[in-house]
């Protein structure tokens, strides 16, 4: 799934990482919202936009991509990569863009509610 590393390099406990199971789809959508990418590029971009704090387990990225494509949130086409190899590039569909907005709003609501609850005395 998502392997979490804090900036100091110490991995978070597995229980914390499992909390992020549902967020992989959202992160993939977010990564693709910045432009079309192949599977490897998606993983790289997620790491990049999270400041290397989030690293997607490489194997689990692809079923995620296939599921999103199956749901019509992303679409793919074969093209030539930067090193002249045949690669499958994914890009967001209109439905995917809408879904990303919804997911972002949900996530922000959840995060702010959790912070509020934690700060309550």
């Amino acid at each position: 799934m998502l392997a979490l590393d804090c900036l100091g390099g110490c991995p978070l406990p597995k229980s914390n990482a499992s909390l992020l199971q549902g967020t992989l789809d959202m992160l993939i959508l977010k990564a693709l919202s910045l432009g079309a990418l192949h599977g490897y590029g998606v993983g790289q971009r997620i790491a990049q936009i999270s400041g290397d704090a989030l690293k997607v387990e490489e194997g689990s990225l692809y079923p995620g991509l296939y599921r999103l494509e199956q749901r019509g949130l992303i679409e793919s086409e074969w093209d030539v990569s930067e090193n002249n190899q045949r690669a499958k590039f994914y890009k967001l569909t209109r439905a995917g863009r809408k879904q990303l907005i919804i997911e972002e709003q949900n996530w922000e609501r959840l995060a702010s509610a959790t912070i509020k609850a934690l700060r309550a005395m």
């Binding site: 799934m1 199971q21 549902g22 992989l24 789809d25 192949h38 599977g39 490897y40 387990e57 490489e58 194997g59 689990s60 692809y62 079923p63 995620g64 296939y66 599921r67 199956q70 749901r71 019509g72 679409e75 990569s81 090193n83 190899q85 045949r86 690669a87 499958k88 569909t93 439905a95």
Partner: protein
């Protein structure tokens, strides 16, 4: 548009499974190759870089099978489709039955037609029975599982536990709970 594309993909996946597997493998191999290159750029030796890339990727075959399974699944909830299919089958069976009753059976052609109708009915009966028993065996329909899976991105499948109908003392699971 999406449904047309997805249905086309679904049909291709069933019609040409080898091609689909090849496509998935090509994509996954590309990933491993890119990771290997990145490892080499970091200063690793070629062999070590490839080994590390394979290791960080995880179980290649499992990922491939997982992707293929997703590709082979219907892109929408198939409950309505299945319902439509069952209704069509029931209508066909009814028409066949009506035909069989009304066809005169005093000549050879009539008897042959009746036999044909009986064959169709039997076949439909077997298909329905098989579908029902399969669904009962699985406990839930295939697309339901996929829909649930799509909510999370966890690849690990829940371990399936088989509960025997009777234990060594001849008690059912319910009896075991209440008598223990």
């Amino acid at each position: 548009m999406f449904l047309i594309k997805a249905t086309k993909r679904f049909i291709c996946a069933w019609r040409r499974p080898d091609e689909m597997v090849h496509e998935v493998e090509t994509e996954l191999r590309f990933h491993i190759e890119m990771r290997t290159r990145a490892n080499i750029e970091k200063g690793m030796r070629s062999d070590d870089a490839q080994r590390a890339a394979l290791q960080s990727f995880g179980d290649f075959e499992r990922v491939r099978d997982n992707c293929c399974e997703i590709r082979r699944s219907l892109p929408f909830d198939s409950t309505l489709l299945r319902m439509g299919l069952h209704i069509t089958m029931a209508v066909v069976a009814g028409l066949a039955a009506l035909w069989a009753v009304n066809v005169p059976h005093h000549n050879f052609t009539g008897v042959m037609r009746q036999l044909m109708a009986i064959t169709v009915l039997t076949y439909l009966f077997i298909v329905v029975r098989r579908a029902r028993s399969k669904r009962r065996h699985n406990g839930e329909h295939v697309n339901g599982v996929l829909a649930n899976k799509s909510l999370t991105s966890d690849m690990s499948d829940a371990p399936s536990a088989k509960i025997p109908a009777y234990d060594e003392q001849g008690r059912t699971p319910v009896e075991r709970v209440f008598k223990s």
